[in-house]
Symmetry: none
Subunit: 223 residues, 4 copies
Amino acid sequence: MSVSPSKPVMVTHLCTGESEAKRQQILTGAKAVFAAHGFEGASMSAIAREAGVSKGTLYNYFANKCDLFAAFVEKNCREKLEVLAPVQKLSLSPEKTLTALAREIIRLIISPESLMLYRIIVSEAPHFPHLATTFWQSGPKRAIETLSGWIEGQVAQGTLNVDDPVFAAEQFFSLCQTRIAHRKRFNMPFDNEAEDEEKVIHAAVRMFLAAYGVKPSEAPAAD
Amino acid sequence: MSVSPSKPVMVTHLCTGESEAKRQQILTGAKAVFAAHGFEGASMSAIAREAGVSKGTLYNYFANKCDLFAAFVEKNCREKLEVLAPVQKLSLSPEKTLTALAREIIRLIISPESLMLYRIIVSEAPHFPHLATTFWQSGPKRAIETLSGWIEGQVAQGTLNVDDPVFAAEQFFSLCQTRIAHRKRFNMPFDNEAEDEEKVIHAAVRMFLAAYGVKPSEAPAAD
Amino acid sequence: MSVSPSKPVMVTHLCTGESEAKRQQILTGAKAVFAAHGFEGASMSAIAREAGVSKGTLYNYFANKCDLFAAFVEKNCREKLEVLAPVQKLSLSPEKTLTALAREIIRLIISPESLMLYRIIVSEAPHFPHLATTFWQSGPKRAIETLSGWIEGQVAQGTLNVDDPVFAAEQFFSLCQTRIAHRKRFNMPFDNEAEDEEKVIHAAVRMFLAAYGVKPSEAPAAD
Amino acid sequence: MSVSPSKPVMVTHLCTGESEAKRQQILTGAKAVFAAHGFEGASMSAIAREAGVSKGTLYNYFANKCDLFAAFVEKNCREKLEVLAPVQKLSLSPEKTLTALAREIIRLIISPESLMLYRIIVSEAPHFPHLATTFWQSGPKRAIETLSGWIEGQVAQGTLNVDDPVFAAEQFFSLCQTRIAHRKRFNMPFDNEAEDEEKVIHAAVRMFLAAYGVKPSEAPAAD
DNA sequence: CATGAATGAGCGTTCATTCAT
DNA sequence: GATGAATGAACGCTCATTCAT
């Protein structure tokens, strides 16, 4: 029942590197099964089969189903949601920055893996309180922080007029979820997804700037 | 999993009323168990026990677990989500109307039963596509229609300036989900929920009017 | 289940001493686990952990669980039960000798380790017939032989009148098990264990001498 | 796979009669498997197979393995050990009464079912403290009470001279376990079991009377 | 129509044993 | 010689579903 941490020493030797590889192999199998059936619906047998290992091996790496599930969520949150950061570095005009950011946020939110994680974490939040925090901190929190940091910079430059940058960031995040994110989460069809995406982005930016932008004449030029 | 329409047809025979009562009794038990354990985690035995009927009776009224689940979702969506409509009838000023509406939307969204339905439907959306539609049409769609209808009226009156009322309504709906709804869905704690609620409401209305309101001087007085 | 003699032969090679030490180390771990959980309830993993060796090493020293169990029983029977002998060497009066012997027998029987061995061997006797013999010969048989030898000496001296010394010894052994041993084996509580012990000893000696003693006037003085 | 229940006509009604029959059917299967493999070694699957029912049915009647085991022990203790009582009613001489009683005690102790129960209860006493009490009260305690009651009567009649009848009864009980019972519990062979039995009986009675009997001249005649 | 005993596949988990390193 | 990762059968137990009453 030992779960070897086997910190990936990797490099030169052969000995314990295999463990980490198998751990990832198991987590890959787990992802497929948890994604398709949720926590309760996934069976350890199915995960073992999918991962190409025996059930015994599963339990050599993860003490029980809950632990495996937690590891799966952590791994996937880290891998999938930590993609946002670099966008704001570009010193574009507020409008162009927000537009680029909105596009990235939407793309991230509606990616199949994010949807899968959202589904599974929302549904298990009452039973696995810690996992929701993991998800939140890997994704939404990070996006909000990034955006609120950028907002603060803009306020300092006089290009935005915001008294609570964190809350404003959360509002922008909410606006980016208009229509598309909700429908995707409900698995509902679209008439024209690409068009909707542009509309959501444009309308979110427009509304945000209508509320928080300074009058064009007062703002310093950018871009 | 196929969802078949197992609702007993209202035939002209003797015990129709009694049957319907028992049906509701079963659905009440089902609600408690599905709410607590989700679809996979709920057992038909537990539902029968909770409802105070035998398992055989359960299967007389619902062909299988999937059907019972579908009926439970439908019933609860209808009962819980159809609460919104009457608010906009009051002919208040746009600001007051939107404020009242936002408060109602938030209260509805974060009510325990709505959260439970949201969780369960989002998580089962891939397996029960029809249920998501039921939920959507009972709740969000209705709210959006109500709001967009009111918006159209305001546009006609010259108090709002909106080119796509449905989309604007969706945006408002998104804004109402800032912070509180997301955190509730993730079961995350609040520092000060009541304060946040006021903030969300006020900021949503302010942002919406900043984007879609006409200049005060142009708008007709109300309230 | 077959019990094969897996004790490593004392070959002339280098590491014999080390091997024997590790063998004892394993048996020490095995004792803790078998004592606590019995044969079926003990797991080889637990024994390996308790002994501080790997499972592979376990199987280098013992071919399988049955063999390890057999070795554990043998070792512990030898160590625990071979404590009785020296008492009868003292040439006390029959009454004092029997009293001393009874006290030793009772103390031995109700020691935690003897109880553990008794439990485990009685319960596994049908599956490991050889082990019961090991136990019997290490403990009860030895005690009976010791006592019957002493009885024969007393008969020769005219202080006892016994026609079947072995059977008489077995009777005395049985009398020593009155109340205390049976209750201990059933894990039943005592009101006053020390008092019971004195009573059992005294009554066993009295009854034995009533049956097999010669009249005081006829017996040679001792002590 | 179901064994025809062979409907027990059962009193007047039909409803719960079948249940008790199946319960006994299960306990019969459980007896075979527990007797052969002990508590840990018995599997619920094997018991179900032996009893001719499905595993699900097993769990409809007994909540878990421990409960089933407890029920098995209780049933068998009651059935097997409650056989002793009537012997002492005969008003024979002390010698003949004790002889008859000793024979019954020995026969009972060495019956295969009693041995099986003894084995299983001694081995599980640490884990199931209650069961030992059940066994003790069904068998040994009852035998001791019966015997001590008879002893008290003899003391009143002046045919025995005993100050602690309960303890004397326990001694007699111990004497009856000389040789045969111990060897049977260890599954050890006999040279001549029938002869040994007579010897044990005769020697137990002789020793008991040597210790507790009054001189023949003082005792009232009986038989 | 209502019941609940019966089913057996499937669940999460453990374990004696093997074998490449 | 020592290791512990890997195995897969077996464990105790649950559950959706059926059907005789």
